[in-house]
Every structure is written in structure tokens, then in C-alpha cells.
Symmetry: D3
Subunit: 112 residues, 6 copies
């Protein structure tokens, strides 16, 4: 993770885009899975992206954090909702979620 989260998320987009072209048979159904799982339903997309963010922090996945944070913000997540999402991850992940939550929060401050 660099000092600029916008650059990080752009790098993720570029790498995943390249992988998509190289492995379309796997990545096409994966994209459909993502679309189905994150669509508005009983829970709206914003909540689902925050959920994905909470998992990202809990499992310590830098690239996932910036990716799903951006998606949550694009769906209208507020600063406070992101902070509460990080708090749930800390409940479920302890110290490692504190340090990765710190990364998510730093990204939030820059991206929003």
C-alpha cells in the first residue's frame, strides 16, 4: 500500500483487468457472481459493499479494502457508516483488524 489510495485502487483495477483478459472463462462467471451478490435486494448494495469491506479488513486484504471502500462510497456510504463497519471488523478480528482498519480509515480520509 502506497501513500495514495487512489493509485492503489487504480493499480488493482489494472491488474484485475489484465487477469480478466487472460482468464475470461473463469472471470466472466466470477463477475456475474459479484453482480448477483452485490445487487440491491433485501439488503441494498451500499450495505453489501460495507459487508465486503468488513470482510476485507477482517481478513487483512489491502487490495480488497480499497476496492470495496470505493464501491461503498460510490453507493453513498457515509463516513460514519464506514467507521462503524471498521468497528465490527475489530470486534471480529482484534488487533490485526485495528491495524488494517487504520489503513481503511486512512483510505477513507483520502478517497472521500
Amino acid at each position: 500500500m502506497t501513500k495514495s489510495y487512489k493509485e492503489d485502487v487504480a493499480a488493482v483495477d489494472k491488474r484485475v483487468g489484465a487477469l480478466f483478459k487472460a482468464a475470461p472463462k473463469t472471470m466472466t462467471p466470477y463477475s456475474q457472481l459479484v453482480k448477483a451478490a452485490s445487487a440491491d435486494g433485501a439488503l441494498d448494495s451500499k450495505v453489501k459493499e460495507l459487508m465486503a469491506l468488513s470482510i476485507s479488513v477482517a481478513i487483512r486484504c489491502d487490495d480488497c479494502i480499497v476496492f470495496h471502500l470505493r464501491a461503498a462510497l460510490n453507493h453513498g456510504a457515509s463516513r460514519e457508516e464506514v467507521i462503524e463497519t471498521i468497528s465490527v471488523a475489530i470486534e471480529m478480528g482484534g488487533g490485526p483488524s485495528v491495524v488494517y482498519g487504520g489503513r481503511a480509515f486512512a483510505a477513507l480520509e483520502e478517497l472521500s
Copy 2:
């Protein structure tokens, strides 16, 4: 995990209760952390428990699944909301989340 999720969650309660008595200095602030992280706020408690459930499935934690599923149901989560929560975990966890999502769904059918 046995065939009865009600017994599973009762066993979790019993074990965690015993640990609480044995390690009150650690468990008391942990309980306060849980209370703060799962309280109604910008996101309501139901969503937060579903988030904790999504993490539980993604990290493959049986005891966590039954614990947070019960909490989500107690906060009024619907069957469909639980299923969509499992779907987000599958997006974030692939095959292992499918099999643990299967466990969560089986528990849902019994607990609800």
C-alpha cells in the same frame, strides 16, 4: 457442528460464559467492545450482526456462525437478508464460503 444448531449455540454460550468467569479482566473490556461495535448507530444492530455473520462465514468459524446468526435473527433479520449475507461471503470467500454458507443456511432453517 452437530445436527442441532440450538445445541451448538447453547454450547458456545456455556464455553464463553466459563471463559468469562476465568478471564474477567480481558473479557470485560471485550464485552464492552462488542456492545459498542454492535450498537445501533449510523448502521443498525441488525445490519451489524449480519456483517459479523458474513465475516464468520468468510473465515470459516462454526461457533461464530451460530452465534451471530442467532443475534441477527433476534434483531429482526429476515430469511432473505441472511441468504444475501451468505452470498456476499461467497463473493469474498469462494468455495469454502459455499460450504460454510451451507452450514449457516442449515442453521437458519432450524433456528428460524
Copy 3:
């Protein structure tokens, strides 16, 4: 995990089948992803199922172990190939992979 791995894998099938019916929009593309990822290609299906088994042991996923072990055996994996797969998982996972490798090996002895 019970004493009978055949019962375990039957229980996985049942739980995942029920989840499939409850969440078809997510599970249908997931199934297509699995089909694409495990199809014969530059690597054959047997090797891919052994790979999935090595991951299953390394991440300590009981249900995944029995599921992918059965698939590998169905694609003609030999006893020795399964044992070497467990060995790679141990290289990558240390002690926890030894104990879960022990579970995989016990399942192998019963299933084959």
C-alpha cells in the same frame, strides 16, 4: 467431522444443494466458475482437484477436504498423488496442515 467421511461428504452435498435452491442467482454463476476453473485444459482436472485439495488442507476447511478429495479420486488421482498433495500443503501450512492433512489421509483411507 464424523468417523465416516462418506457421511460427511453427503452432508456437504445436502447443505450446498439446499443453499443452491435458496440462492440461485449467486450459486448459478458460482457453479459456472467452478466448471471453468476445474475443466481439463493446460492442466487436467485431476491436477486441479488435487490443487483444490491442497488449498483445502492449507486453509483448514474440513468440508472442502472431503469434497475435493472425492473429486480428485473421481478423476483418477492415486493414493500416492493425494499423499504428495498433502505434503505440499504441509510445506505451505506447517503444523495445522499436518493435523488437517491427517484428516485428509484418514478420509482417503476410507473413501478409496
Copy 4:
């Protein structure tokens, strides 16, 4: 995990013993690694087994918990030392370490 941790650890011993016979080329150096890593040194074996137990709880590995708990007790670990070890795991693992710490504590009560 059954109701009897003694049976659990006996089952681990049996499974790992069978794997050792099936994969001696991998398991022999692994055993030497374990011997070297857990020998008395700047830190004594008891502390090292408690460390292994803390990792076992943090990564949610049932079989590892009973195995390293027994080893720690065999090296003279006290009840209070085990409880403090579980507390460090909770600091590092949050809720999932609480429920697996609860399993470790239940095993402690039975094994000691």
C-alpha cells in the same frame, strides 16, 4: 470436537501417526523442525508450547488446540498461564478467538 478432549487428542495422534507412516520423507524433517523449534533455549519449552497454543486459538485450529494444550501442560504450564495465553489470542483474534478460546478453556478444565 467431541465432549471429551482426551478422545480428541488421541484421535489427532492416531491420524498424524498414520500420515507419518504414509509420508515419511516429509514428516521426518517436519518432526525435526518441531523438535528444534520447541526445544528449551532462550525461551523454555513451556513458553514455546503456550505460544503454539496462542497461534492455534488465533487461527481457529481445534486439533492444534488440544495438541499444544496437552504439550504445554506436560511441560508444566499452570492453569493461569493457559488462561493468559488465551487472553493474548483474544487480543490478536477478537470474537473468533473468544469462541475458540472457550474451547481451549473447556479442554483445559478436562485435561488438567
Copy 5:
């Protein structure tokens, strides 16, 4: 992780400090939990920080490694004790713990 571990740990401090200000209701009890879990008791604080370091290596958490390595050194941990801690993590984590143990060792050489 940059080439300078002192900068890394300073960055962790800064990010966690900012998160603390943003989420005081969650972070305050978490801090109390840390204080309780890492206090001198049946095991001394040095051993507990080494334990937290062993978990950090085993779960591959860069920020956790530099944080708990510094804490262990501040509590008087010797070079040899840190190396033995890394060895226990390798026993429990295999190859990934070797490469993250390599990071912890490089940090040790710089921080001490």
C-alpha cells in the same frame, strides 16, 4: 513494508491513532483489552508480546509484526528470544511464516 521498519511502525502508530480518534467508543475498550491481555501476570509482558509476535508472523500481518516486535524489544526481549519466536511461528505456519519471519528478522536487525 518499506525498507525502514521504524518508518513502518511510525505509520502504524499514526493510522491507529487517527482511527482511535474517529472510533473512540470501540477503541477505548479495545485498548483496555490490550492492557489487560498484555499485563504482567503468570506470564510476563515480554513473553506476551513475543506471543503476539508469533501470532503476527503466523497470520502474515506486516503491521502487527513491527508493532509487537517493538513492544517485545521494549520489554527487554533478546535477539535470540525473537529468533526462537519466529521459529515457533514457522513450526505453526510453514513457508508463509518463513517469508514473514524473514520480514520480522529484518525488522529486528534494524530496530535493535
Copy 6:
């Protein structure tokens, strides 16, 4: 992870080499374990290194990815075999394996 994977893998070599000198009693049997687990057998070394790569992606270990990717390429793995290996990891790891698979693929493009 920097922009150059050759520099990344060189840094891994350097760090692990330094750890080997500092902890020879643990690292010597670990090396023997690696040699045994990755030797030609019922499965050839190329497949075993691809297996180790699939685990590396699934568990999100950057240093492991470049290390085992290089080893797989040195054993003659083709571009397509690496891509299919990443696909199996995605089946088993979902979104986080997509982003780490993207890293593995970017390294492949540079290293090959």
C-alpha cells in the same frame, strides 16, 4: 510489493537467507521438508510448485507468490498453466484471490 517482481523475489531471497543463518536449527529441517515435498514423485515438481502457487494466492501471501511462481517457471510451467492455477485459487478464494491472482499474473508477465 513494488513494481518489479524480480526485485521482490530477490528481497525475499535475501531476507530468508539471513533468517536461515540466524536460525539454522529450525531452517535446516524446514529446507529438507521443502526438498522432500517438492521433489519429483507421483506428481512432478512443476505441478507441486503450481500447487504451492495456488495456495499462495488463496492465502494472500505476496512473498510466497513471487517465490513459487519463479520456482514453477524454472520447472517449465507455461503461461497457460499459471493462469489456470490462478483460476483454481479464485474458485477456492473468491474476490481476494482475484486481486492476489492479479498480482500473480502481473508478476508472470514480468518474470516470463
